[in-house]
Each structure stands twice: as C-alpha cells, then as structure tokens.
Amino acid sequence: MTQNFVKNNILELKLEGFEGPIDLLLSLVKDQKVDILKIKILPLAEQYLEFLKKIIKNDIEIAAEYLVVGSILAFIKSRELLPKDENENDEIDDLSEKLKFQILKLAEFQKLSKNLLLRKQLGIDFFKRGEHEIFSKKIKYKYELSLYDLTKSYAMSISHEDKSKMTIAYSKLFTVERALTNLKNSLSFFKDWNYLFAFLPKDIKDFLEMKSAYASHFAASLELAKEGHVSLKQNSKINDLQMIKND
C-alpha cells in the first residue's frame, strides 16, 4: 500500500492536500476500498507512520496534530506487537475504537457538507422576487449593518495602534527665544562685564530645563553678539564666558 503512495506521487503533495491527520487517515481508508466500519487499525497505523516518516524527512515543520495522532498509532501498534496483557488490551481496543469513530464521524460530515453545497441554492437555482417595488411615500431608512460588520468594526477600533490617544508631552526645555528675551531685559540693568550664566533665571528646578537654559543662553549670546548688541570674552578655556553691553 505504501508502495502505491510512492508510485502515485502522493508524497509530493506533502500534507497540504489533507485537512488534518484524521482526514489523512480517512483518505488512507478510502484507498483501501474497505467499508469504513470494518477498518483495521493496525495496517492503517503502519501506512500512516510510513507516510509520516517520509514527510518528516522532507518537511520538518510538520503540523503537531499529525505527530500527535502518529504517536497514538505508534502506541497502538507497539501494544499489538507485544505479548498480550488482558487489561491493557482493553485500553488499546478502546483507543482504536475511538479513533475509528472519529474517522467515521469525519467521513460522515464530509459527505453531508458536500451534499449541502449540492443543494439548490437561492439566487442560483431558485429566486426571490427580483424587484423592489415602490408603492408608498413613507420612507423608512433601514441601516444595512450585519453582525459581522459590527464586530469587525469593533475589533478594528480596539486593535488599531494609530487609534491610541497620543498627546505630545509638555516641553520642559528652555527655548532660545526665551533666553534672548531674558538677556535683552537683563542687559538694560548691567553696564559692566558679567558672567553670561549669571543671567540664568534662578527659579529653574528641573535638571533638563536647567541644562537647556545653559545651551539656549549661550546660543542667545552668540546671536546678540552677531547682531552687535553685546561683546563676549573668555579669559581662558576653562573660564566662564563674560558678556558686556555695547554702547
């Protein structure tokens, strides 16, 4: 039987043609051309395991479901081959019966589902009234919203990341504009050389804001010097910058 599979190149289908391990078992049964009620699990197990072995070789990312059923079949097979113990045999029979039942059940539902779609269908084989007759002046608006649309919309509304509320955090930085205003105001009171950073506002408590104030005052002083309002000097590299108002 396994030989047949190789010949028929079914192996090359990998597992994509099967809807799960029970479906695979079912198709092996169908290939045996025996009554589903008379399935013999042992030969079936051998075929399945043989099939699984080859698949694993070719495709290691095999679905876990196939391996689970494979392990049950391996279990049944190994127990059948070992010397018999009465209690254990019951257990195996039970497992075999259940597996057969599942194959049978799936076979039945596959048949019924197929038949369902073979039924005559509305809009294809029979019809409803084609026309929407207008015979009343009263108009009632009907909202065409299906439960599917509603739940889909809800799912989208809570899953879209771009829907999250986003607020830009309040900036605690001391801007150059503020530094410029501060320096211009202060310079009117001081005629002599003064250390630039003495002009920094005294009430800054935030560390980041303080750091940015240093930077913005430095930038502001350069701007003022460039415009000719002030002169700047630095006695040495390690000394602080000093500033004086030009006349």
Partner: protein, 198 residues
C-alpha cells in the same frame, strides 16, 4: 353578515399575500398579526395561501416562522436568470458549515475536534461574513465558550424551512454521531496521561 365575513376573509388573504410579496426580506409571523390578531386564524390563513400558490411558478414558503415567496422547484431550472456570483467556499469552510449545520449549537473547539485539526483564521470568518452562521448562546462551561449556529439566511439560501429538514440528520442521530462522548481525547491535557514509553 356571513357574506361580510367572507369578504373580510378574502381581503385578509389579499393583504397577507400583498404584504409578503412586497417585502424584500422574509416577513416575520408577528408582523403579519396586524392583518389578523388571532394567531390560530392567522395560521389558517397562511396555510390557505400556501395551498393557493402551491401550483404556481412561485410558492409561498416558510422559513423558521418567517414567510416569503420563492420560485418553485419545478420551473427554477428552466428559468434563464442571471446568477448571483456565489463565493467558492474552501474545503475547510464547507466542512465547517456542514458541521455547524448538523451539530448546532457547537463551539469552535468541538468543530476542531471533529475535523481533527485546528481551524485556521478566516474559516469561520468567511461563513460569518456571508451571514450563514452567527454566534449562539454561551455554554455553561469554564470560559463560557461561545457557540455557533446557522441563520435564517442559511436556511433560505439552501431552501430549508428549518434545520430539522437537513437531509440525513436523523440517521446521524441514530448512529450516535452527534455526541462527543466517543472521542480519543477530551482535551489536550489528556495527552500527557498517555505515556507511550511505559
């Protein structure tokens, strides 16, 4: 007086057939009560209408207590009417639909159990989108899992009056195929108790 009642009766029939005929969707029994508030009489009137249209090119049919006209089986195949493009269902979706139809109400994990494989995303989704299945009541089990069941739209589409009309349903029941007692595993945790090495 007698004559009057009869006229009244005929008028009611006309009103009923006109109302059902003019409504774009199947009409609920309750909304037909406006023409005859006695339910027994209303049922009689509807039975009479059903009979009246029995041999027409279109018939009055009932779907789960709703009423509508549909072209008769006899002529349908001879009509040359443009077909609605129907979606081709995947095999997984077809089987899932069948299982829900025969097994309803059924949870997702029970569907997976019958098919022996987990349902991929989009399988139930497509059936829900077409409007053939909808969520049903929740089961009183841990996690209160939601069940799925078929809709009136499903019945209408496949020309069924109710789910009991599904062909083969009785046989399924008799064969005991509609219960979950005989499965290999009740839940995945049972796998652990199956020790293959001992």
């Amino acid at each position: 007086m007698n004559n009057n009642t009869k006229l009244d009766h005929n008028l009611k029939l006309k009103l009923l057939e006109a109302f059902i005929f003019a409504s774009p969707e199947p009409v609920k029994f309750n909304s037909l009560k406006q023409f005859e508030d006695n339910e027994d009489n209303l049922i009689k009137l509807l039975d009479e209408l059903e009979l009246k249209f029995q041999d027409f090119g279109f018939n009055l049919i009932s779907i789960n207590n709703t009423y509508c006209f549909r072209t008769s089986e006899e002529v349908s195949s001879l009509l040359n009417i443009e077909q609605e493009a129907s979606k081709q269902l995947s095999r997984a979706a077809t089987e899932t639909l069948g299982i829900i139809a025969y097994h309803q109400p059924i949870t997702r994990s029970q569907i997976e159990e019958i098919r022996g494989v987990s349902l991929s995303k989009g399988t139930l989704d497509i059936l829900f989108e077409i409007g053939w299945v909808k969520p049903g009541k929740r089961l009183e089990l841990p996690g209160r899992p939601s069940t799925w069941e078929t809709t009136n739209k499903f019945l209408d589409h496949f020309g069924l009056s109710n789910v009991n009309q599904l062909p083969g349903l009785d046989e399924l029941k008799e064969a005991g195929l509609l219960n979950f007692d005989n499965k290999v595993f009740k839940d995945p945790s049972e796998l652990n108790s199956l020790n293959i090495n001992d």
